[in-house]
């Protein structure tokens, strides 16, 4: 029981899907405070779908999701997030709002009244955002949008940050910077759940889950994963 | 194109046959005529909205222009009525050409600009300064051409042609390309589609259909005012009927007209007191409980609706 209470986020037997199509089949996953969990899986395995059901953007058909000990399975997304979880989606930005407003919304959605100081810190992370802060987010390039998305999700100072492919489309330099930022945040006690393809992220992860065809195929530590020949072959690519 | 023939035989032929026979068994011919007119207009809306995504909120502009085209041809050029109906179609197309720049707009901007255009045409036609040509606000009375039976036949022919065009759209790569343009113009261009030309063709086709309908309408009613033929009820009804049945299909707008306009008339005949109230409530209920149009009942089950 003790370990359960210790989980920040716990999903048990989650089924979810779209319309008549079921995508997830009994997925179990947990994230403990301060921990970084990586969710791997092939294109179409259901990573995004799973993250969406965690944060409440699609309905969980079976199973339970608990956040900080509360059952949130039937809770709407805004209420879940008030419990301290934010989500960085693939879209990640409000195109018609300026950069600055995007950050403000990120903070205010969860009730943070004065995001000012935080905003400065985030601009420090991504200087290009400060440069363009009065521009509409729609004018940003793909990678710039990703930066904004990360910054926006951080603006609310969550306990748990759920990210969908934060590195896709970022230049190598920025990937490195993002990794640095994430490890700094880890140091501050932020828990992370990241769906990624970039194996560079294994460096910051504590545990890994692998989704295949909507089912959990593997879960364990990074070391356990790299020891597994079949998994290495499937997910790290062979050279 | 076997699907084309099949749709013509299974959907168009029975419908046209029904409207050819009905006047023999049912006396309220004008009701039948209005059914045909709304079938044409709803399909016209289908062509432009269903296949290209432009909602023609002022669709009646073409209808009214067609009606006046007919009247002017008859009054000033003394053409025989069938020729005047063709002239009405031509007027619709001309107005469509004039308004092609509107296609640069999208979504609600297009819809409202189209409405504005229709109102502009109405106020133009109805202006007393044009009394010599259009009779301005004083209304048109066409005596020589009055012939309801022939006008009805004309309407059924126009309906047939309109349906044939929709069947073509539904079964051709042309129609598919139009839908692609509707979904995403940039991607459509990258699929090799000449977006501007496609839109203009659909737009003019839909203008032609409404112009022709306006022409036969003028032929049938003979006496009318600008307010009669430019009443935006025509646009709203045609749009509501088409959407209710389900656009981008052949059958959707047909079903929409038959059911909604049928109910509309039924209420009108039986419970006149609270006509508007009942009709309003009914429409709201349909949208809330059957939101994707009637054809969605079938498509949801995975059936393919032509």
């Amino acid at each position: 029981m003790a370990s359960e209470a210790a989980s920040l986020l716990e999903a048990k037997g989650v089924d979810a899907g779209y319309g008549t199509m079921q995508v997830l089949w009994g997925v179990d996953l947990d994230v403990r405070p301060g921990e970084t969990v990586l969710l791997l899986g092939a294109n179409g395995a259901g990573k995004t779908t799973f993250l969406k059901s965690l944060v409440g953007l699609i309905e969980t058909r079976h199973g339970q999701i608990a956040l900080g000990g509360h059952d949130v399975t039937r809770m709407r997304s805004s209420d879940r997030m008030r419990l301290g979880m934010t989500y960085m989606s693939e879209l990640a930005v409000f195109p018609d709002l300026s950069i600055e407003e995007n950050l403000k919304v990120g903070a205010q959605a969860l009730g943070h009244a004065n995001p000012g100081a935080r905003t400065e810190e985030l601009y420090g992370l991504f200087p290009v955002l400060r440069e363009k802060r009065r521009n509409a987010a729609s004018s940003l390039s793909g990678g710039q949008r990703k930066m904004l998305g990360i910054a926006k999700a951080l603006a609310a100072e969550p306990k748990l940050l759920v990210m969908d492919e934060p590195s896709a489309g970022l230049s190598p330099l920025l990937v490195k910077e993002v990794l640095q930022v994430l490890s700094r945040l880890q140091g501050q006690g932020l828990a992370l759940l990241i769906a990624e393809q970039n194996i560079g992220f294994l460096g910051v992860a504590t545990r890994v889950f692998v989704l295949e065809g909507g089912r959990i195929r593997f879960s364990g530590t990074v070391a356990e994963m790299t020891d597994n020949e079949a998994l290495r072959r499937a997910y790290f690519g062979l050279k | 194109m076997p699907d084309f023939m099949r749709h013509m035989l299974v959907i168009v032929a029975p419908l046209v046959a029904a409207f050819a026979i009905l006047p023999g068994v049912y006396d309220n011919h004008l009701l039948l005529f209005n059914f045909v007119i709304f079938l044409i207009l709803a399909q016209g809306v289908n062509i432009i909205y269903g296949f290209t995504g432009y909602l023609p909120f002022g669709y009646v502009g073409f209808f009214g222009a067609g009606a006046y085209g007919f009247a002017i041809a008859v009054m000033h050029l003394h053409t025989p009525a069938p020729v005047a109906v063709l002239a009405a179609g031509a007027v619709g197309v001309l107005l469509g050409l004039l308004l092609t720049p509107l296609l640069r707009l999208s979504g609600a901007y297009f819809a409202i600009a189209n409405l504005a255009a229709a109102l502009a045409v109405l106020h133009f036609v109805a202006n007393p300064a044009l009394e010599q040509i259009t009779k301005g606000p004083y209304g048109v009375a066409l005596n020589g051409t009055f012939n309801p039976t022939l006008a009805y036949t004309g309407a059924v022919i126009i309906l047939t042609l309109t349906l044939a065009f929709v069947v073509f759209l539904k079964n051709s790569s042309f129609g598919l390309a139009l839908q692609a343009v509707r979904e995403d113009a940039v991607s459509a261009a990258m699929a090799g589609v000449n977006v501007v030309r496609m839109r203009v063709i659909a737009w003019l086709a839909s203008a032609l259909v409404a112009g022709l309908a306006g022409g036969v309408f003028a032929w049938y009613v003979s006496v009318f005012y600008p307010d009669n033929v430019f009443s935006n009820d025509f646009s709203i009804f045609a749009i509501v009927f088409a959407l209710f049945g389900g656009v981008a299909t052949i059958t959707g707008p047909i079903v929409g007209v038959v059911i909604l306009y049928g109910i509309y008339n039924l209420i009108g005949f039986t419970t006149p007191q609270y006509f508007q109230l009942i009709y309003g409530v009914l429409i709201m209920a349909l949208v809330l409980f059957l939101p994707a149009g009637l054809v969605s009942l079938a498509t949801r089950r995975g059936w393919n609706v032509p």
């Binding site: 179409g44 779908t49 489309g169 230049s171 | 390309a177 839908q179 261009a189 990258m190 090799g192 977006v195």
Partner: protein
């Protein structure tokens, strides 16, 4: 060294402004048939904008675009498609409510006319879309939609293909798979420009890269050389990196 084949596309001093902002500020490069050219650079350096201009989405504000010996700057997209230029989108743009099959059918019907169209079922099979053929494109996730973009582009029978971050979001195994496809396309004679941030992938498939920064090309040559150029490291790669 064999003499270089004449380039199919030559870009010279290309300029594109948005308001006062110079998104492209004099970019020059060329690409030949059968070649895969990498276009890399920091985020916001103008890669997508370059592709947008080449594919006719935006008219250039300066410079020249020469394709097959003719100037194509400012031509409408569909005309360029008919001449054999096509692309994928960084944020995929399929026809959402049409089925996957219909998405490709449009391109088959309206693509370049001179060449016999490829078989639809083969295309879908090759890019793992066959099972989804009768589902609306809205049901696909973003990487599947990117594949659909690619299939649609191929269905128009292009001679110059512009791939904008096609591989972002794929795992290493999938990267190998798509790399194989891209190489095969180049071998069949297509000129391909690949925009990508994954250096491993770029290394694997390109002969030559252009590094862009702030709307200008700052390096041209093999990636192995580029990674040693200080300016490239500074703006793009950062510190040390493993290819």
């Amino acid at each position: 060294m064999s003499p270089e084949p004449a380039p199919i596309l030559a870009v010279n001093g290309l300029v594109k402004r948005f308001g006062g902002f110079h998104a492209l500020d004099g970019v020059s490069f060329h690409v030949s048939a059968g070649e895969i050219l990498g276009l890399v650079g920091p985020n916001g350096s103008g890669k997508t904008t370059t592709i947008n201009v080449i594919s006719g989405l935006y008219a250039p504000d300066g410079g020249t675009l020469t394709y097959d010996g003719a100037s194509i700057g400012g031509l409408a997209s569909h005309k360029l498609v008919h001449r054999g230029i096509n692309r994928t989108f960084q944020i995929p743009k399929p026809f959402l409510s049409l089925t996957v099959r219909q998405n490709v059918e449009v391109a088959l019907a309206y693509g370049r006319a001179e060449i016999a169209p490829p078989r639809l079922s083969d295309l879908l099979e090759q890019y793992h879309l066959a099972d989804l053929a009768d589902r609306p494109a809205a049901d696909l996730n973003s990487s599947q939609q990117k594949m659909l973009d690619l299939v649609r582009a191929l269905a128009t029978r292009p001679r110059l293909l512009l791939l904008d971050e096609l591989a972002a979001g794929l795992n290493p195994t999938e990267l190998d798979w798509i790399a194989g496809h891209v190489r095969a396309l180049a071998q069949s004679g297509l000129a391909i420009i690949v925009v990508e941030h994954l250096m491993g992938f770029i290394e694997q498939i390109t002969d030559r890269v252009i590094v862009m920064n702030a709307g200008k090309d700052i390096f041209e040559g093999p990636l192995a050389v580029a990674v040693k150029v200080p300016q490239v490291i500074e703006v793009f790669l950062g510190g040390d990196h493993g290819v």
